[in-house]
Amino acid sequence: MKKIIALALAAAMVLSLTACSSSSNESSTTESSTAESSVVESSAAESSAATEASTAADGSVMTHEQFIAADVDSEVTVETYVQAKQSWWEDNGQGKATFYTQAEDGAYFLYEMPCTEDEYNQLVPGTKIKVTGYKSEWSGEIEITDATFEIEDGTWTAEPTDVTDLLGTDQLQDHMNELVSFKGMTVEASKDPDGKDVAYLYNYDGSGSEGDDLYFNVSYNGQTYSFTVESYLCDKDSDVYKAVENLKIGDTVDMEGFLYWYEGANPHITSVTVK
């Protein structure tokens, strides 16, 4: 009897192992490919970094004035300080994030700069970084793309510049990407999808829902401008998002934000105070 039991147990074990074999193979494949992926990612990052380094010019740090004077698509190197960041994400295994940065002589928008999640967490507001990338222009927005960075010693946080009086003038563009403020503006009506007057919209035309970018109109000296709460910068749980959701037509507001550009000034607002 013992022999039969022992044989049955052994046979059961064989069957059990056979049954497990496909799942353990799957598991093995998954683990294996995950491990391979991480190797591949790091080698890709190294390769990318090596390419950037090899094509880097002398790597000398530019002033903001020199950056503005540089040709679009030329390589640039700047020292700047992180002021804010949009959310980190992975694109085909490559981590990246968009940063609003500023130095004492001007601001730089770092579009989809490759970084690991750990690096992203280190890049808190105030962090000094040296950035090498390419000057690019997209719908009027001057930015640095395909950038690499290194963290340097030092911290600095910008104070907002009041540009209210520059709205509608060519001088406003001189402050592109800077932390700026707008004082005493009036909330104007936007039309929702049903044609009703509302204080803000989810997406530019009201086609979105909570969590999407917020768009609202504000006026100054008889001119109306479209401002945005960029949801990847300030999500639906942020104070500014909630503040805009509570705006009423006719409110007078003070605002701070980053002077982003899309076919004209399109500030990404980070704080709103109703007066």
Binding site: L7, S16, V40, T55, N92, G206, E263
Partner: protein
């Protein structure tokens, strides 16, 4: 001795069984395959989430909302909550994030390429064939509370696009293709006439002619500081279509990667030549083609037919200020061809998949809602928002849709001429559309195809040399970055599964030792029995 050996053997067996059991439990929790219930339970409240994509178009949002309300009127026990996206990639990322926690939506707008990746989970996506064929709840089923299309009223070509292997894992929702939106005035100003079917050579020739500058640095054609004659929105589509038209490799049905070939290299060098002169750019590098087209700064804006409401002087949608918009005639044509007698163009557009859940009633409710999106009222209304076409012949042939097409140009909103021109272009070319093979990783391959063009254009603009060495390195970097060397095929392509994990090796070695032990005990017992018999 015999007792000690037997005890050791039993202990080893027990350990082994525990290990085997634990190994079997390890890993992702599996979900049961869905079986269609005999009856839909109308007494049970069911909550569904529907993740939907719109083209940042409030009319599309309103149509989704109305569909949800109309469906709820028919099935009061089913509540659908919509989550809106404006980007397929974001839906894809969110679904992938939610698969491990089984918090996927119930119904989801998606691309078949993405479904192939979702399917790496166990029974994650519901295969739909048994639902299609169900007499009560399938296509035009007897128990449906709405007028659904029958199976033969689904456009077969579009249904086939939703097949992965032998099964359908999605239903088509809308279909579109790419179109060239042409500033006819500028073409004629350069002394050209637009042919019935554009060729790549012709388009590039016109584009090069448009790069001529005045002494003051402005462009001779438009007198402005900016002129990008060709702007391509989706460079993955560009590469895929050019390769298809050249009958060159891209991937096999089973997922082998053929992207890196001589034709691809030739295409990239051609693209580089036109990027060098400023005749060609892309959405990612410059901006939306429509912005440049409408400002008279682009001649050939290549974008989806589902982007047609942004194209042209009188476009109902737009991002640039009115004072920047130029007055010109817009002509809509299929994408350029290498062989004008045999035009080929991509078939694209949203499909719908259903995610599996523990409760079959919830899955059935998901199917009922998904199928509701195929009814004429939803199909026609949504198709009319952009240059989409309905995916059922029932909706395409409906009086409402035919009247809509016939009213082209009577206004600049619903009946905007350019939009209906784009729609008609696709309707005339349904048989000339194609899709690429779907497998786990096909979405990455698509991204890689587009990135080749983007990289070349960027490199040219950055004064780098595009030669064979550059291309070789580009292929190697792209392979690595998009993991093309580790892609698995869903439909049987051979793949190295890698070495066995340590636990599996330990189990197999232990098993072998146990068998040896069993055999030894068996032989010893036989020998002892024979010895006893001799005595």
């Amino acid at each position: 001795m015999k007792t000690v050996l037997a005890r050791a053997l039993s202990l080893a067996l027990a350990v082994c069984l525990v290990l085997a059991g634990l190994a079997g439990c390890h890993g992702q929790q599996k979900q049961s395959a869905f079986q269609v219930p005999d009856e839909f339970d109308t007494s049970k409240d069911i909550e569904l989430t529907f993740w939907a994509k719109n083209d940042t178009n409030k009319t599309q949002t309103a149509i989704y909302q109305k569909a949800i309300e109309d469906f709820h009127d028919l099935y009061p026990n089913i509540n659908v909550t919509i989550r809106l996206y404006t980007d397929y990639g974001k839906i894809y990322n969110d679904v992938i994030t939610n698969i491990p926690t089984n918090t996927t939506p119930n119904v989801c707008i998606t691309y078949p390429d993405h479904i192939a990746t979702y399917m790496t989970g166990s029974n994650t996506v519901v295969p739909l064939d048994q639902l299609f064929a169900d007499e009560k709840y399938g296509f035009a089923g007897s128990e449906l509370k709405y007028d659904a299309p029958s199976a033969d009223q689904m456009v077969e070509k579009y249904m086939n696009e939703c097949k992965i292997g032998d099964q359908h894992y999605a239903i088509p929702f809308m279909r579109s293709t790419e179109a060239v939106y042409i500033n006819k005035d500028l073409v004629e100003k350069l002394g050209y006439q637009i042919p019935d079917v554009l060729t790549w050579d012709w388009m590039f020739e016109v584009a090069e002619a448009a790069t001529k500058k005045n002494a003051d640095g402005t462009y001779a054609l438009n007198g402005q500081n900016v002129m990008i004659p060709i702007i391509y929105k989706s460079t993955d589509n560009m590469m895929i279509q050019m390769l298809k038209q050249k009958e060159a490799g891209y991937s096999t049905d089973s997922g082998e990667i053929d992207l890196f070939n001589d034709e691809t290299t030739a295409i990239l060098k051609e693209v580089a030549r036109h990027a060098q002169t400023g005749a060609f750019s892309t959405f990612k590098i410059s901006s939306y083609p429509a912005n440049f087209l409408n400002a008279g700064q682009c001649i050939f804006a290549i974008d989806s037919t589902a982007g047609s409401t942004w194209m042209g002087t009188n476009a109902p949608l737009g991002d640039i200020s009115k004072d920047q918009i130029m007055d010109f005639e817009t002509v809509v044509k299929p994408i350029p061809q290498f062989d004008p007698d045999h035009p080929q163009m991509i078939s694209q557009g949203p499909s719908i998949c259903i995610f599996n859940k523990e409760d079959p009633q919830v899955v059935l409710a998901s199917w009922l809602f998904a199928q509701f999106l195929l009814t004429d009222q939803v199909q026609d209304a949504y198709a009319e928002t952009e240059g989409y076409i309905p995916v059922t012949t029932k909706a395409q042939d409906s009086d409402e849709y035919q009247q809509y097409l016939a009213a082209a140009g009577t206004d600049n909103q619903v009946h905007y001429q350019t939009k209906i021109d784009a729609t008609n272009m696709l309707l005339d070319n349904i048989d000339n559309t194609f899709t690429t093979p779907v497998f786990n990783g096909s979405a990455s391959l698509r991204d890689a195809a587009g990135s080749l063009i983007e990289s070349v254009v960027k490199s040219v603009r950055r004064k780098q040399t595009i030669d064979d060495d550059y291309i070789t390195k580009l292929y190697a970097d792209t392979t690595t970055l998009y993991h093309l060397d580790t892609l698995s095929a869903a439909s049987g392509a051979k793949k190295d599964l890698g070495p066995l994990p340590g636990t599996a090796k330990a189990l197999l070695i232990t098993l072998g030792l146990i068998w040896i032990g069993i055999i030894l005990v068996f032989i010893r017992q036989k020998q002892a029995a024979k010895a006893r018999q001799r005595q």
